[in-house]
């Protein structure tokens, strides 16, 4: 699992595990998907097979602390999550792209909320609506996992970050 640089002293030891626990909780409870840690080498192998990535970013802010949580996942995983969440059968018509983007946004929203609840439970954060953008490729960064054998990254950043234009 990759190290996340979290500012002290806001976060207790084991903060990285909080991020993994949040992703695991969301993937397994809401999307009924299996999640596993992934090293950079394995991630690069898996990522090489995908050229249609989506990145969903949520900004959090409580007036004193601000930052973002970004999830990057290939289109195949987005569709897998969509099917699990909506109950769509593989034989059903393809979902609208707007529905898939909405779903990817909600996935990141749930991870961000679950992580903040675990990591900084005593503070009240405002979360931005998700911004979802398309990417051709991703580099290993942040927490690397596989969800149903497909690659996914979850990155936590602190401080002001540029706003993204949603696709």
């Amino acid at each position: 699992m990759c190290s996340l640089k979290l500012p002290e002293p806001m976060f207790r030891p084991g903060a990285e595990e909080d991020v993994y626990a949040a992703v695991s909780d969301v993937a397994e409870r809401s999307f009924f998907c299996l999640i596993d840690p992934c090293d950079a080498e394995r991630f690069a192998e898996l990522a090489a097979g995908h050229d249609d990535w989506l990145m969903s970013t949520i900004h959090f802010d409580d007036g004193q602390c601000t930052g973002s949580v970004s999830c990057r996942l290939p289109g195949a995983l987005a569709l897998r999550l969509f099917d699990a969440f909506s109950g769509r059968d593989p034989g059903d018509p393809e979902p609208l792209r707007a529905e898939v983007l909405d779903l990817v946004g909600e996935f990141a929203n749930m991870i961000c909320g679950a992580w903040l609840t675990k990591a900084i439970n005593h503070r009240t954060f405002t979360l931005s609506p998700p911004a979802v953008v398309a990417l051709d490729r991703v580099e290993p960064a942040g927490l690397l996992v596989t969800i149903e054998e497909l690659p996914c990254t979850v990155d936590v950043a602190f401080g002001r970050v540029p706003a993204l234009t949603t696709v």
Partner: protein, 121 residues
């Protein structure tokens, strides 16, 4: 029972609808709103029994919506439930002051929604 689902994610509203269809609770009608302002408009027009609302939404947040509701005697019997990714202690304390009956954290299972509806029904 008439239920109003308030969430800026259409997928989440659809998912909650799907879960509501699975629970063994009599439901007459389900309404949807994408933010607090839309929810207020529906509340003005219809008699709603149970409000299921998210917190972080554009235009008008769930907290702002709950404050509006709490400021009027018209909705004194409206049962209020928060469904949010934000389960912080401070947010729960805030909700407790706004007559919120249940606070549900996402992700949730269908059984939890059923239990909440049975509790507030």
């Amino acid at each position: 029972m008439r239920i109003l689902i308030v969430d800026d994610s259409a997928m989440m509203r659809k998912m909650i609808r799907r879960v509501l269809a699975l629970v063994d609770v009599p439901i007459d009608e389900i309404f949807e709103a994408a933010n607090g302002a839309e929810a207020l408009a529906i509340l003005q027009e219809h008699e709603i029994d149970v409000l299921l609302t998210d917190i972080n939404m554009p235009v008008m947040t769930g907290t702002e919506l709950l404050r509006e509701i709490a400021s009027s005697k018209r909705w004194i019997n409206l049962r209020r439930v928060i469904i949010s990714t934000d389960g912080s202690a401070s947010r729960r304390d805030e909700a407790a002051g706004l007559d919120v009956r249940c606070y549900l954290e996402k992700p949730f299972s269908p059984e939890v929604i059923r239990d909440v509806l049975l509790e507030v029904a």
